[in-house]
């Protein structure tokens, strides 16, 4: 494995900006690693060798001329193929979009990463139109988990998570409607951030569920996650949900040791988790000095199914014309979910939207006494590829529909959540959700940095067998 793959993104950027390392060498190394590793993993749907090397040469030229190419100079980024990149077709995991016209401009987050000096090296695999938790795509194949190729990488941003875990890129860009950053981060053993709803612009990312869509980064280090997140912040008139709040950088506060009031979510958020998952949650809680009394979010189960109903109905409405005219062009799993959503009664969907207000108040009350709440990201570690069922509520349930039981109630009300990969001994990584009040991402990063500094949360580069 090359030295670049194991360097931090921040370390690469510093070395490039000071002329110690050439961005061209970093990018060539990332492209070589994709070439070597991705035949096994299937994280990438396209690589951008020519553009990436040209962008890297431009970064090197800026440095040579005494300029500053930006805080992410030369950092390789893998982008979920949901995001527009000028001149490229945006697939969103759909075969039916393969002949769509190329994007005329970058998604806002892609543009901001480029402006910071980052280099887009690949587009990554996903569930079709982001409707899934596993990145098992009928057209573009299954993305395998780089830490155990017999397991799933998670989804829908599974390609980005796997690319980061396997050292093909230092930063992954993903989207999260019900858990699509958090679940692949958990399964693939990397850090992932779903910021507050509206914090990062979604402009130029193909929508799925406007009420619930978020975008965010993934990385192997907390500092790198902060670097990418800070680079992407800012208001954007292209996204009506994007906040007008001032940019609130987190990176300067990673080592802030002001005490955090930490609690552990109980009830719904523990009932169906495997013992290994609960052990990781409890280890993180103990390290962060969490209070022993569990925090209950009443009606979390209702919130989860309200998110489920909104997702199906809004997703179906977005794709209604295509569902009617060419249903055979969808991935079979996506088609069945969307068609069901198209048939839901309106009263159910309106009730699900109105309940958001009430659950928002429930959650707000929990944060009166806490800065960070802890919960599992998934009920089990990364699913084996052939595993079909999970035990939920004492009953055997289809695994793929229920992996998001702990992520859905939180994104339903737009809370910021950072997933930290907790590794206990030789056990497989467990994704733990650190949850904060709206707009309080800084607390999440401080908690994650402490878990990382203690050696409890970490994400090395996986070498797929």
């Amino acid at each position: 494995m090359s030295a670049f793959a194991t360097m931090t993104a921040a370390g690469i950027a510093d070395a490039v900006r000071t002329g110690k390392v050439r961005a061209s060498a970093v990018v060539r190394d990332a492209l070589d690693r994709i070439e070597r590793v991705d035949a096994t993993i299937n994280a990438c749907t396209a690589t951008f060798a020519d553009e990436a090397l040209a962008a890297a040469a431009a970064v090197d030229a800026t440095v040579a001329n005494g300029g500053d190419p930006g805080p992410m100079a030369g950092v390789p980024v893998a982008v979920k193929n949901l995001f527009d990149m000028a001149g490229r077709v945006t697939l969103a995991g759909a075969h039916m979009l393969r002949d769509a016209p190329p994007a005329v401009q970058d998604a806002t987050t892609v543009r901001r990463l480029r402006d910071a000096g980052a280099i887009m090296v690949a587009a990554t695999n996903m569930d079709e139109f982001a409707y899934g938790f596993t990145t098992e795509n009928e057209f573009y194949g299954v993305t395998r988990n780089p830490r155990d190729t017999n397991r799933l990488a998670g989804g829908s941003s599974g390609g980005s998570a796997a690319a980061v875990a396997a050292g093909m890129a230092h930063i992954g860009l993903g989207s999260d409607t019900n858990g699509s950053i958090r679940i692949p981060a958990a399964f693939s053993g990397v850090f992932g951030l779903k910021p507050t709803f509206g914090r990062l612009s979604r402009a130029g990312a193909i929508p799925f569920v406007a009420s619930l869509d978020h975008v965010g980064p993934m990385a192997r280090r907390v500092d790198d996650l902060a670097l990418a997140y800070d680079a992407m912040q800012g208001a954007d008139a292209r996204d009506p949900a994007c906040t007008l709040r001032a940019v609130d950088p987190v990176r300067p506060f990673l080592s802030d040791d002001t005490p955090l009031r930490v609690g552990v979510l109980g009830g719904w958020f523990r009932a169906d988790a495997d013992a290994a998952v609960l052990a990781a949650v409890d280890a993180a809680a103990e390290m962060l000095g969490a209070a022993t009394t569990r925090v209950e979010l009443a009606e979390a189960r209702i919130a989860r199914f309200a998110a489920f109903a909104i997702t199906a109905a809004e997703g179906a409405n977005l794709h209604r014309r295509t569902l009617c005219e060419r249903p055979e062009d969808f991935d079979g799993a996506t088609r069945d979910r969307l068609l069901a959503g198209a048939l839901l009664p309106a009263g159910l969907v309106i009730q699900a939207q109105r309940f958001r207000r009430r659950f928002q108040e429930t959650v707000r009350a929990a944060f009166a006494d806490h800065d960070v709440l802890i919960a599992p990201a998934t009920p089990c570690v990364a699913l084996e590829r052939d595993r079909q069922m999970l035990t939920i509520g004492g009953r055997e349930m289809p695994a793929r529909a229920h992996i998001g039981i702990y992520t859905q109630p939180l994104s339903y009300v737009g809370l910021p959540v950072l997933v930290a990969p907790i590794v206990l001994g030789d056990a497989f990584p467990v994704g733990v959700q650190l949850v904060a009040a709206p707009w309080a991402e800084r607390a999440l990063f401080r908690a994650a940095a402490r878990l990382e500094a203690a050696g409890l949360a970490h994400a090395g580069v996986a070498e797929p067998a």
Partner: protein, 72 residues
């Protein structure tokens, strides 16, 4: 002594009931469900509808409005 049956309105919908609803709703909504998708659509509807009873029973207040643009 057998278990007391659930009141009719509390009982989960069975597959046949969901199938009848799906077929009627598809026709009324102008959506042609391909034959290969019918079982999957029914299964998805069953999951959503049978888990939404508690949501539909909530007595939300008049001021619990769905927001045009949600602010967390």
């Amino acid at each position: 002594m057998g278990m007391k049956p659930l009141p009719e309105e509390k009982r989960p919908f069975d597959r046949d009931e969901i199938a009848a609803y799906a077929d009627a709703a598809a026709r009324l909504c102008g959506i042609a469900v391909p034959a290969t998708s019918r079982d999957g659509v029914i299964a998805n509807l069953q999951t959503i509808l049978n888990n939404s009873a508690a949501l539909m029973e909530l007595d939300l207040g008049w001021t619990d409005e769905a927001a045009p643009v949600f602010q967390p």
